[in-house]
Point group: C2
Chain length 317, copies 2
């Protein structure tokens, strides 16, 4: 709590801020930055936003979303605030570290490297947005329509629509406070989780066509080749979430997705449901991740790779 007070103090007595986050910003990164930026602006601070412009279209409803990429060349800031970025190597642009007198690092990733001059890391928060809610409260800034929308987006995305095990009593408490302002949360929710282009449906069909059950149905594998994507007219980004088709089937313990990224090269994603540590499997194959969700790269033809993976998973079941 002392650290959060120091951060509040640092914010209060400075005027020039740069807000940034990790590459390929997600809903939590975007929502957190926008909410904090709006709150700072309400305190008459000068705020620049500096974000990787590759923002998925579905976030277009967010306030300020078109104005988050500034030119930082020849600029210097009193405070740089880096949000939701655990690994400094994933920062959008490391040159900002020299452009800011003080770096404040605010995050909820458990393995955050504490690279800031001030670091507030709360790994019990389901989203960085939850921490930003607290900071805004400490700053004495009242929630408004735009801030609530941004924070709702941050929290709902990083908790998988309140589904993940990172959701706590506090998560729902904060959302109940946000929804005191009528923000049509269901519309945001629909946009983020329940809208997809037609091609996604045909990708789902292809994934089911390619679905294999091995080891008595406890291992389910989906392969998506470059030809599949070309046939369907899908971008590789649309593969997000496809692995859950396999994971959610009753009886499946391990789900694996092989995404062909080049000839004889596959990006492999692993998910497990109850007990297999797929983080360990990915690590052994040169990748990484968590016990229930991990990934790696493998080379070879698909049948060879599937055979290797089958062998590894079999020993874990």
């Amino acid at each position: 709590m002392d650290m959060i007070k120091n951060i509040i103090n640092g914010i209060q007595k400075n005027h020039n801020f740069l807000l940034t986050t990790h590459l390929s910003p997600d809903g939590d990164a975007l929502g957190s930055i926008i909410a904090l930026g709006l709150a700072l602006e309400k305190l008459n601070k000068k705020v620049d936003y500096y974000i990787d412009p590759s923002i998925p279209e579905k976030f277009n409803f967010l306030p300020k979303i078109q104005n988050l990429s500034c030119n930082v060349l020849d600029k210097q800031y009193e405070i740089g605030i880096i949000l939701d970025c655990g690994d400094i190597n994933h920062l959008y642009d490391r040159t900002i570290l020299k452009k800011c007198n003080t770096i404040i690092n605010i995050d909820h990733h458990i393995n955050n490297q504490n690279y800031g001059n001030m670091n507030y890391i709360n790994s019990k928060a389901g989203a960085t947005g939850e921490i930003i809610y607290e900071i805004i409260e400490f700053l004495g800034v009242e929630l408004d329509h735009n801030i609530s929308k941004a924070l709702y987006t941050a929290i709902v995305t990083d908790t998988g629509n309140f589904k993940y095990s990172n959701v706590t009593s506090k998560t729902h408490y904060i959302v109940s406070e946000l929804l005191r302002i009528p923000i049509d949360a269901w519309k945001i929710n629909k946009k983020l989780f329940d809208e997809y282009p037609r091609s996604k449906i045909f990708l789902v069909k292809r994934a089911i066509d390619n679905l294999q059950f091995l080891l008595g149905g406890r291992l389910a594998i989906i392969v998506i080749t470059q030809d599949d994507l070309k046939d369907i007219g899908c971008s590789p980004k649309e593969i997000e979430g496809i692995i859950n088709i396999a994971r959610n089937i009753i009886g499946v313990e391990v789900a694996i997705l092989l995404k062909e990224t080049a000839s004889n090269e596959f990006k492999i994603s692993f998910r497990s449901n109850e007990y297999v540590d797929v983080g360990e499997i990915a690590l052994r194959l040169g990748g990484g991740g968590h016990s229930r969700a991990s990934g790696c790269i493998m080379h070879g033809n698909r049948d060879e790779i599937i055979s290797i993976l089958k062998g590894i998973v079999e020993k874990k079941l």
Copy 2:
């Protein structure tokens, strides 16, 4: 608020209770009844549960779920509490109306018929479970693991996992209170929303195979025949949710599902996204429902029916 106090009073001064709900109980009905029943038992009341035994397997994790079907023959109760049942014709068994000296009707459906001796209807509640939370609080019963689990289930099912427009600040506030008790909400959530038998996946594939886009992609239709179900080895119940495959596609305003129930007989479901009042369409065809979700029965062959529906929808777009 007076009515809720009368009800609390009625509960406090009586001893013998029968709790019941509508036919084919859903998560809100089950969770509400179990939570209220457990609370009454904590107050040393005698509680009988009387529920349509056709309970979907996914609710098996709920406390008391195996003990909800009692024999009410030759019994008489001081109080019968009917939960989550707007229409008395949907009550599991109307004979109980004579077996209870007083009927308390607690519900959140806006069109509730006020058929009880005491009626507490709050259509602003996202689930009957939200009302039961309040009643338990009024009764002064502390939440415990089983009550929290039951109420979480009630609320999460009737709000579509916090997605629907019936979710309010209060919904999240109540859930934040429930989650003060460690109930592994994510496991309940997974069981209710993210687990399906293998056959469901093949039904999804068949639905996509059968998907038709009409009227420039603004109308999407899925047909599921009895042969489809037979081929796949699916029960008709698994069709639940399939219509959303069509509804969620960007550009679709109206989604229609034709479920063949007999030769030349189809159960038709309608969904819309933004502006078409599908309640009106269903009503005109002898069915009913809401402006964004409705249904009816139609007779004829599928192509004729599709052609009729296309004509009706075209005028509304």
